[in-house]
């Protein structure tokens, strides 16, 4: 089984979730920075399959997401912004799930924030990575599967 999702489907899901939850446009494409300080990960598993949907985003976009979802400006990174980003990842993963194999379930989200980190898993291998611009900040959506 592949964890590749048609690029148009991925773009539609991300755009739809951003519009519905955040009220901003998410367009495919744009520059992909070497490092983004926030990562939100949702595991998807079922049977013997293990996958993950990972969002990488800037702090500016995270604060924009939190502000839009909570209805008040988020000035700095904190628990409220972390929860908003976790929920964003949860909803994107949930809306991608129908395009994956049937019988999979989502895990609780994990959010990492830092100035210098990398995510490694001895089992997960990146199968797809797509960059979006929302509306002027980068977002990278990564799909990984157990190899």
């Amino acid at each position: 089984m592949s964890l590749r999702v048609e690029r148009t489907v991925l773009a539609e899901v991300v755009a739809s979730v951003f519009k519905g939850m955040v009220g901003i446009e998410a367009r495919p494409g744009g520059d992909s920075p070497e490092f983004l300080p926030i990562a939100a990960m949702i595991g998807i598993s079922g049977g013997e399959d293990r996958m993950a949907v990972i969002l990488r985003l800037s702090e500016a976009l995270a604060l924009k997401v939190a502000g839009a979802m909570l209805g008040e400006e988020a000035m700095s990174w904190g628990p409220a912004a972390e929860d908003a980003v976790a929920e964003l990842a949860n909803v994107i993963a949930g809306n991608l799930k129908p395009h994956l194999r049937a019988g999979m379930a989502l895990s609780l989200p994990t959010v990492v924030h830092g100035s210098d980190f990398a995510i490694h898993s001895p089992r997960l291998a990146i199968s797809q990575s797509e960059t979006f611009t929302c509306p002027d900040e980068p977002l990278i959506v990564i799909l990984a599967r157990e190899s």
Partner: protein, 139 residues
């Protein structure tokens, strides 16, 4: 326990009450605002166990409950609610980012009446809630 908006009075009519159960404070805030704007009184719980206890204590007119939560998840909480005669008749709307799956099937088997798919929007919530509750007027 958090009262999003309390407007009950001794003499005035009672507002319809909706209990929202989600481990995400973001979703509790969004649902609280939307339901309050629709005129409902809102109670909030941040996990399944707290939601079951609050439902027993407050007997809300509707429960909107997340499926995936740490500790007692929404499906387990739904089962507890339906086991208890005091809460068995309260309509429960499950809420999840997942559009399909065995949790959805299980929720309906246990007696859930509706399924709200995230992202939660005003239109989507209003459409679902109107199938269960009358407009937020008096009882």
């Amino acid at each position: 326990m958090i009262f999003w908006k309390s407007s009950k009075t001794e003499t005035g009519p009672r507002k319809l009450t909706v209990l929202t159960v989600d481990d995400s404070s973001t979703i509790l805030i969004i649902l609280g605002k939307l339901l309050s704007e629709l005129g409902y009184e809102v109670l909030q719980a941040s996990n399944g166990l707290e939601g079951v206890h609050m439902a027993q204590a407050k007997t809300p007119d509707l429960i909107i409950m997340d499926v995936t939560m740490p500790g007692m998840n929404g499906i387990e909480a739904l089962a507890k609610l339906k086991e208890n005669p005091k809460t068995a008749a309260i309509p429960v709307m499950m809420c999840s980012a997942e559009q399909t799956g065995k949790d959805l099937d299980r929720a309906f088997q246990l007696g859930a009446v509706e399924y709200l798919i995230k992202p939660v929007t005003a239109e989507r919530l209003k459409a679902k809630i109107s199938k269960i509750l009358p407009p937020a007027t008096t009882m």
